[in-house]
């Protein structure tokens, strides 16, 4: 604490301090309570404003609805494009002016300051009407008037940000650069910009959010069906209001956190993070967001206000690509919040404890094995002991059994799926005190009506068989697709759910009563399945038939021998 702060701190009487704390608490309550309500409203809201769901029943229904609605996609696209363009243009303009003003008379600086304050104070209603009126007279496109209006609102605020940071960069530094022969552009690039990074970043962020949130100019200028997000919210005001404003607020907050994380490189700061982890995350992000990005781009292209000439079409194409990329990135980050949380979370692992197993990306040893496997290029063997196999198995598959995680784990490298039999044995031993791997078979007519009545019931049905080992479902293609979608398997053929295999297959043909035919299994899954079944047979000490179905007993080897593991094939044998 600085000396000045200590001294000032000592001059406030205790009674006055208590009263001030009381008032401050009330003030903070008044300003933060609506923000908390927005979060609650986003996930617990109903179609009627003021009416909430029960506390134990959150939903991302409104987030999904809003992000999948083409009209909202178009509005988001429009607002994003406008805000980014206005923010960057305004920042460039003000940064240049702030630099040059150091070389111009001070009176000009004072007049500019006065003008910026004057513009900030003006009633936006009057200004918006003037823009609408002038735009109609000059026959300007709507988006041009809107961009100009936003620029006039944003530039004074950005100017004040640069002015507040003025003292941090004395003009002597810039004059020194010129004296030593640097031209203005070199001076700007090498002296001004590096020392004004915070101001530049602040101006971009403030400009973006002020422009994105601007409703007054949009309300008066926009007469077509191309709405910005705030205008869409404003026109949606009625007795029945879905939690769309809350979703937008959560979206804005997420965007800001993303922007700050990028700025402070939070995602890249950890030295413990292997690069492979990011490749996996990016691969997952790409799959998740391509569909939304494409649909956003298509919606923008169809509804965007660009013209029909070459310039207009170029603008539309460029706008579509940019909007698609940004929309996909933002939605992808939202959907990847789970893995991101995992990466940023700390690992508190105790060996032998399934639920507190080290998170995959913080397990440093895995990368060594993966590198060795890559180096083998399909041949050769790598020596692993049983503890390592056990450890990798737990790490790879523990997430599939986590309470909140339902469905397959696409981030686990496919190589390690082949360790699944060993993992399964560990789990069964731990949780069921048994080494038996059972296969349970259900035909279509065996499935109860109510188990397919709703997604929740379907998930409960599949979850009730967790710990068995293999769930075989002989059902029609339509039923297989429905179940796979509800429990989020990667395909309606085969997948992992809750740590066990779920397999869909066609009913056996009469001429081949003992055979089951899989519909379609892609290369990776086929390899995984074959290896799993082979290992199941090879490592079982005993196979018995119960109720017409095989039970593989004593999956785990009893001795702790060293194993040689071919990571390209991930088979193991006793050394």
């Amino acid at each position: 604490m600085a000396l000045t702060e200590v001294y000032l701190h000592a001059f406030l009487p205790r009674r006055v301090r208590i009263i001030l704390w009381f008032i401050t608490a009330i003030v903070l309550f008044l300003i933060i309570m609506p923000c908390l309500y927005l979060f609650i409203w986003c996930f617990w809201g109903t179609e009627v404003i003021g009416l909430l769901r029960s506390p134990g029943d959150p939903s991302i229904q409104w987030v999904r609805e809003l992000l999948e609605d083409p009209s909202w996609q178009s509005a988001f696209s429009y607002s994003l494009l406008l805000s980014i363009g206005v923010s960057i243009a305004g920042t460039a303009l003000v940064a240049g002016q702030n630099y040059i003003s150091r070389f111009l008379p001070r009176r000009l600086d004072s007049f500019t300051f006065w003008l910026m304050i004057f513009v900030t104070l003006n009633p936006l209603i009057a200004y918006s009407l003037s823009m609408r009126y002038t735009g109609n007279i000059l026959v300007l496109p709507e988006w041009v008037i809107l961009a100009a209006g936003h620029l006039v609102i944003v530039v004074p605020l950005q100017y004040l940000i640069f002015e507040a940071a003025r003292e941090k960069l004395p003009r002597d530094l810039l004059w020194a650069g010129q004296t030593l022969g640097a031209r203005h552009w070199a001076n700007f690039r090498h002296v001004f910009l590096p020392n004004s990074q915070l101001a530049v970043w602040g101006a971009i962020v403030v400009g973006f959010f002020v422009s994105f949130d601007e409703v007054v100019v949009a309300a008066f200028v926009i007469e077509s069906s191309h709405l910005t997000v705030p205008l869409k919210l404003w026109r949606g005001l009625s007795q029945v209001v879905k939690p769309e404003p809350a979703v937008v607020a959560v979206f804005m907050l997420s965007t800001l956190i993303l922007a700050e994380a990028i700025h402070y490189r939070a995602l890249f700061a950890s030295d413990k993070l292997p690069r492979r982890a990011f490749k996996d995350i990016l691969a997952g992000l790409w799959q998740e967001t391509v569909a939304f990005a494409v649909s956003s781009a298509v919606a923008w292209f169809a509804l965007s206000p660009g013209g029909t000439g070459l310039l207009g079409v170029s603008f539309k194409i460029f706008g579509s690509a940019l909007v698609g990329f940004l929309s996909g990135l933002i939605v992808g980050m939202f959907k990847a919040r789970g893995p991101i949380y995992d990466i940023l979370g700390t690992a508190n692992a105790e060996d032998g404890e399934v639920r507190s197993v080290p998170r995959f990306f913080s397990f440093e040893g895995i990368s060594d094995y993966v590198d060795k496997a890559d180096a083998l290029r399909g041949g050769g063997w790598v020596e692993m002991n049983l503890e390592d196999i056990s450890r990798i198995s737990r790490v790879c598959f523990a997430r599939a059994r986590g309470r909140r995680y339902i469905g397959t784990d696409r981030h686990v490298p496919s190589k390690f799926y082949k360790l699944y039999p060993h993992y399964l044995g560990l789990q069964l031993e731990r949780e069921l005190a048994s080494n038996d791997v059972r296969i349970v078979l259900y035909n279509e007519h065996d499935l109860a009506e109510d188990s397919l009545a709703s997604p929740d019931l379907t998930r409960r049905f599949v979850a009730s068989h967790v710990g068995v080992g293999v769930l075989l479902l002989s059902v029609s293609w339509e039923t297989a697709e429905r179940i796979a979608q509800r429990v989020r398997l990667p395909s309606p053929d085969f997948g992992l759910f809750g740590g066990q295999f779920v397999l869909f297959f066609d009913p056996p043909q009469s001429e081949e009563p003992g055979c089951i035919k899989l519909r379609h299994v892609d290369g990776q899954l086929q390899e995984m399945l074959e290896t799993f079944l082979l290992e199941l047979v090879e490592n079982a000490n005993e196979v018995v038939i119960q109720d017409g179905l095989p039970v593989f007993r004593r999956l785990l080897p009893e001795t702790r021998d060293a194993y040689k593991v071919s990571l390209s094939a991930l088979r193991w044998r006793r050394a």
Binding site: I31, Q97, F103, L121, I125, V152, F212, D213
Partner: protein
Amino acid sequence: MRSIQRVLTVALGLAPIILIVGLFVLPLLIWMGGAHVQALSRVSTGSLYLSLITKTVLLSSLAALLAVLMATSVAFLHAFSGVHVRHALNSLIMIPLLVGFLARNYAWLGLLRSMAGSGGSINLYRLIGSLLLYNNRGVVLVMATVFIPFSYFIVLQGFSSLRPEMYEAARTLGASDLRAHMVVTLPIIMRSVILAFGLCGVLALGYFVTPKMIGGGQHDFIGNGVLTLLNKLGDSAGASLLALYLFGTAILPMVLLAWYSVHRRTLLLGD
């Protein structure tokens, strides 16, 4: 070549002025000219203005006053606290700015509706909701909460002028701490408080979102009148005239406040 460079350099230095003149002043002048031509045929707009201006100025001033009082209390605590409390207060005050203006108004609407609609016998929760929802009290309170962060950061700059030597001198001269604050603190921060009040009040004149949402259409400002004339009645000429009256009402405070801000630049930007 040098003359071209010189021209470009000066143009870049004047860029914000050129931008404001081209995109702000010119459209306003064009619009004013057009509105003036139609003014001769519009008598009812004047009476609409007179009926709305009193409520607009009164509620705006109350909201600005409430915001400044609350912000000053928080800023007072900030100035006389340690570094951790300061950082915490700054972070908490910033939170509302991150979620958007419209969203905050919707949140207040939802909160007040759920409070007013809560079942059971009359209780404090329901009473507060009933008192604030669709009422000018609610309009003032919500507008005040919107302005608090803005006023806070302006008033805070006034506190940065305080020095511990001033209070030591006051104590040496026999003054109590309370008297020292009355004589030292209040006069120093008064300029920033007045500036914050003026800025918030002028900005509030043009508000229409909060009066519409929280006031329920019963406590309209001039901005709501402009919107009604434009969107519901299709009377763009009347809307322009009403907006022109609003601009005329606000222009003198705008000029004075801008001039005052230039002379008290540190009150806005800090040391």
